[in-house]
């Protein structure tokens, strides 16, 4: 057994000992209880709304005819937007990527690559994880879970929405890198650069959509782009969607 091996074994023994002394922390698996003031505020709001409606209804003395085929419209207020929508329709905001502009059409991609890109865009725009997993297949490499399309869903646990990142990525410039079986088309193009110096102002503006200034600084320090990137092989196989080294 080598000296390094012995050192590692010793450290591992000590670490397991330390871990054995810790009791499992209680799991916070339930949604935290709402504070009492929030319940009061909700009840108060309901009362105000109810009393506000009574004079309104009494004043008109009219009721909507039963079976009216035209659904009424009303402004739907979400946390960040006020949108005119049809009552009863799917509220906006449940799929943040649906509010993003569609990525630009790219003409110079091979057919299979373009089809996969379009399919990912369609699935991401609809926040359709099942479709994303179907496109990804079993061989994709993803961050957070080591690989396998099923692990795309783990993104949700990170409090991140992969669909938004996917759409931003596929709207950036692309490049090609050599792969084991032909070219791999990668987004963003910065992933194909040999050094960070090749990243120009346009690239930086694109990358700033998905990375903070600190993260961009760290890529500069590492002399290479280590952020989110996506690769599709020439035959249209979605190969990776990863970040980090």
């Amino acid at each position: 057994m080598s000296n390094v091996d012995q050192i590692l074994q010793r450290a591992a023994d000590d670490t397991r000992r330390a871990a054995m002394q810790r009791w499992p922390a209680p799991m916070e698996t339930r949604r935290p209880a709402r504070p009492a003031w929030l319940a009061f505020a909700a009840a108060f709001t309901l009362v105000v709304v109810a009393f506000g409606l009574i004079p309104l209804l009494a004043g008109t003395g009219e009721r909507a005819p039963l079976g009216d085929p035209t659904p009424p419209t009303a402004p739907l207020v979400t946390s960040s937007t006020v949108t005119e929508t049809t009552v009863g329709s799917e509220p906006t905001g449940s799929c943040p990527s649906s509010e993003l502009p569609a990525p630009q059409t790219v003409e110079d991609l091979p057919g299979a690559v373009g089809e996969t890109r379009d399919a990912i865009i369609a699935a991401a725009t609809a926040c359709d994880f099942d479709m994303l997993e179907n496109i990804a297949g079993e061989s994709i490499s993803t961050s957070f879970a080591g690989g396998g399309s099923e692990n795309l869903s783990i993104w949700n646990d990170k409090g991140l929405d992969p669909t938004v990142t996917l759409l931003h990525l596929l709207d950036m410039g692309h490049a090609t890198i050599p792969g084991p079986a032909g070219e791999i088309y990668v987004w963003p193009a910065a992933h194909a650069y040999e050094t960070w110096e090749q990243v120009d102002q346009d690239d930086l503006e694109e990358l700033a959509r998905i990375h903070s200034e600190d993260e961009l600084d760290s890529f500069a320090s590492a002399d290479g782009y280590l952020g989110w990137r996506l690769g599709i092989s020439e035959d249209g196989t979605w190969l990776f969607f990863i970040a980090g080294d």
Partner: protein, 161 residues
Amino acid sequence: MTSFEAFYRDEYRGMLGIALALVDGTSAAEDLVQEAFLSAHRRWDRVSQYDSPRAWVRRVLINRATSMRRRLASEWRAVSRVGPPEPAPPDLTPETTGVWRAVRELPRRQQQAVALHYVGQLSMAEIADAMGCSEGAVKSHLHRARQQLRGSLAAWNEEEF
């Protein structure tokens, strides 16, 4: 079907050991383990049906370690401007703390292989499963990790201990 509570109780300490090797500080390691178990809890109906739920939750743990360290590093940069250096975690000896710091200087996949092999005491097949690669790749990561550590750790070992 194993209950989630039993699974959590049985696996917690083993997961914490691996986390202690991958992130700096006991509280960060505990947070990491909690995050991984929380992920399993959310989809326990499905995860519990897997051949090895523990392999799944380990995979989540090692993948989350990378993003957690990136987050901690950024927080640490902010804190270090105003506060004293963070003390070594009290549960580990200074030697062990130093060893894991050296391991965390290795490329990510090598760190994962070392943590799962030495602390987790997993077989090559189990490590390959957790890392999503072949057993050959695991052996290669371990070999390269030991080679890289040979220089840094052995010289430093003579000085420090």
